[in-house]
Every structure is written in structure tokens, then in C-alpha cells.
Symmetry: C2
């Protein structure tokens, strides 16, 4: 019995998110478990580091699973890729320590949100970006992003905050990269709440288009009310880039 660690890449466009659902919706976790279960001859459950929403993509999601498998890691990887659809790929299979858990051991995550500038197009990235209808003031967005850094209670920046679990998170950096056609937000943090990156993005976009004041960021932190923050940016512009471990 080995504890296998997978690096997984997917285009989330046609899936109902990462997490397996009881109603039988098509999910990335569900697809991988289906192939593994058929291969092993018994039900297999995997753990993923990040529960990406419906329509969100991943460049390097991490998951782990305990399997009684006789082949090599490369054979396991090839077998999975043979039976998985082409919008889900296993990039890497490694044997991890017995106690490794992809979600519980994760110490950081990197997300990327891609905004396509007003009047610009990128046909090849059209499923992985949010098309802007207004001009963005990137300097204003950078100033606002600075206020989001550090440890805060991000309750106002998430959907369905649990009363029991902590909504305190730490954002280490938000790098805002501007290219000819796009503005790309790179979020580095120790963890993100449900919809948090999308709400942060929606808020930063409203600041960038000038429909929101930078000072509202402090108000959202103080009052911790979801309605004060910006819209939830569309899922398709968001990609889980990397999961960090110590």
C-alpha cells in the first residue's frame, strides 16, 4: 500500500468543479476516482488540495490516494491519462510519505485571475479570462491590492462563511501583471475561502474601473459583510496555479 501524490492539470470549463457530488454531476475528482476504481476493482477515494469551483481551471492541482498497486508510478500515470478525458491530465505521479495529505499539509496556494482588457481579444484564451467592458486603472488596482496583504478576517470576501470555522487568512502577495491585451492578477496566500479569489478580483476590478473607492476595502474588513464587497468574478478567468508544501 503506497500513498500516491498526483499533480493534475485541467480545463474546468465543462465540469461542476473539483469535488465529487452526490447528485452525480460531472466533476474532476469524480472522473479520476471513476478511472482509479475501475482499474483497482474496488471504490477508490482521492483527496484534493483545493476544491476549485465549477468552471475554474488548474495548472497544478495536487491530490493523494492510498493504493495497493503493483506497477510503477509512470505506468499508473499513463494508465490514468489513457482513460481520462483530454481536458484532465495527470502531469506527475510520485510516492509520498505515508502521512502526506494533499489538503491538510498544504501551506500555501497560488491562484491566477486573467482579465482581458477592453477592446482587446485573445481568441485562444477566451475560455480562461474575463472580458472587460471598461478600461482598468491598474495603478489604482495595485494600491488597493496593497491593503489586502497580510493576515485579515476575510469573512466579507467570501460566500457562505461557516460560523464554526475561522475566516482568517494570510495573503502574502498580489502581483498585478499588465500585458498588451491582459491584466493578470497573481494571488499568493496560505489559503483562500470559498469564492474568495473571485470576490477579491471583482472588488479590484470595480476599483480599477472607478465604480468603487479604494477606502471600501477597510470598511469590508471592519464590518465583515459580503454585500459590501464587489461582485464575484466569473469562474472561467480563475486558475489554481500551484499548491505549496513545506
Amino acid at each position: 500500500m503506497n500513498n500516491y501524490r498526483f499533480k493534475i492539470q485541467y480545463d474546468g470549463t465543462r465540469y461542476h468543479g473539483w469535488q465529487r457530488q452526490k447528485n452525480g454531476s460531472d466533476t474532476i475528482q469524480g472522473r479520476i476516482e471513476q478511472v482509479l476504481s475501475r482499474q483497482m476493482g474496488h471504490p477508490v477515494e482521492i483527496d484534493g488540495a483545493g476544491r476549485t469551483d465549477a468552471g475554474v481551471h488548474a495548472r497544478e492541482q495536487v491530490a493523494n490516494v492510498h493504493l495497493d498497486y503493483n506497477g510503477t508510478t509512470e505506468e499508473l500515470r499513463e494508465c490514468l491519462n489513457e482513460y481520462l478525458p483530454e481536458d484532465i491530465r495527470i502531469l506527475e505521479v510520485e510516492i509520498a510519505g505515508e502521512r502526506f495529505h494533499s489538503r491538510l499539509n498544504a501551506t500555501g496556494k497560488v491562484y491566477e485571475y486573467r482579465l482581458c482588457k477592453k477592446g482587446c481579444f485573445d481568441v485562444f484564451a477566451r475560455k480562461y479570462q474575463w472580458q472587460m467592458e471598461e478600461l482598468l486603472d491598474v495603478a489604482r488596482m495595485k494600491e488597493a491590492a496593497g491593503l489586502l496583504l497580510g493576515e485579515h478576517d476575510f469573512k466579507g470576501f467570501c460566500t457562505k462563511a461557516s460560523r464554526k470555522k475561522s475566516t482568517i487568512r494570510r495573503i502574502d502577495a498580489i502581483d498585478i501583471e499588465e500585458t498588451e491585451n491582459a491584466v493578470i492578477l497573481h494571488f499568493f496566500g496560505n489559503g483562500f475561502l470559498y469564492n474568495m479569489v473571485r470576490i477579491l478580483t471583482g472588488t479590484l476590478v470595480e476599483i480599477g474601473t472607478g465604480t468603487r473607492e479604494i477606502s471600501t476595502i477597510e470598511e469590508i474588513f471592519e464590518r465583515k459583510e459580503r454585500v459590501l464587497a464587489g461582485m464575484t468574478a466569473p469562474a472561467k478567468g480563475l486558475t489554481l496555479v500551484r499548491v505549496k508544501y513545506d
Copy 2:
């Protein structure tokens, strides 16, 4: 009456190529003419610089059309983009000289062919690349590419060569770029025959995997027979990058 010059970007995946067809197949030219004709209230025909095959993409195709249109170039661009499907975008509309013809005046073209290395994946580029099943010897490919440069009769490297028209073309450069996951071939030339870039790519890939000798290139030039060259690489890996004018 103005002569409008368009820069057009498209994902060719679901189209039967650039050129309008009599059988009513879905083509990029057909789509654009349909929108323009509806807008103008009479049939409109446009001229494209390169007749990309079914499944081939374009980053910057060029086309021109004579129109009696009262609005600004920006209004024309916005109107077209509003009615075109999201996998075809008009990047730019400009008023060109009266006698400008996108195809006849073109002095050069740049094409890109993307090969995804064996065992590597890029889910987000999966529709724009050819997945290799064998390792590529890039140094060998570069050596072979050098033999293709300059002016030659490329009759052996094209499909359905016309007996009347010249099959002599000049290739100025073939840059072969290697990234972590991909090998990207950049072709610069004064013009390319039907299927020529795909057959050159298929030939270079066979050389890269070792199933073909570099010396066969000279034999294909001498004997000018299509059967001597390599396979036609799949359309989906090919993109028309740019059309050059003096």
C-alpha cells in the same frame, strides 16, 4: 467607398477553413461575409491573405473589402465583433489604399507549428498542438531545417500541385524553439503552397524521431514527388501568425 483592411484572429477548430465554400460549409470567410452582407443590405465579398485549411488557426489573418459604409472604423469593428461568434474576432479595422489587396500584395507570411513533447501535457493548448508519441531530437531537426532555407521548388512538399502555377517559394527562416513542454517551429517565407507547412513539419518530425534520414530532403527537392516527403502534420497544431506587406 473605402477599401477596409481587417486583422482577424480565429480558432479554426470548428471551421472548414478560411475560404467560403459552395456547399455551405461553415468557414471563417463565410461567417464574416454573412455579417457584413446583413449589415450592408447586399452581398459582400472579402479577400483573405491566406487560405488556411480546415482546423488551422490564425493569430493575425489579413483581409480587405470595399464598402460603402458611413460609420467609423471602430464602429465597423465593434459591429462585426458583436455579431461574429466568439472564436472569430476582428482585431483591427483600417482604411487601406484604394488598390490594396490582402493576398496579391502580401510579401511574406509567418506560420507557427506547435509540437507537444512526448509525456508532456498542456491542457490549455490541447486544441492548438500535435501531441508527440516519440522523443524528438531537436538538433537533428534544426540541421534538416537548414536545408530547407532559400528558394526551392517545393512541389514535393505540397498537396495537389497545380501544373500551371509555380511551386517555387523562398523560406527565409525556420526557427525551432524548445520549451519545457513543447517544440515550436516558426516558418518565415514569401509564401507557402497548399499543405506545405504541414508537410514540412511532418517531414521534420520524422527526422526528429529518427525514422527518416536528413539526406531525404535533398532527394525530395530533386525528384519533386509528394510521396517521398513526410506525413501531413495535423491541422490543429498550425497557426498563421502574421502576414507581411512592404
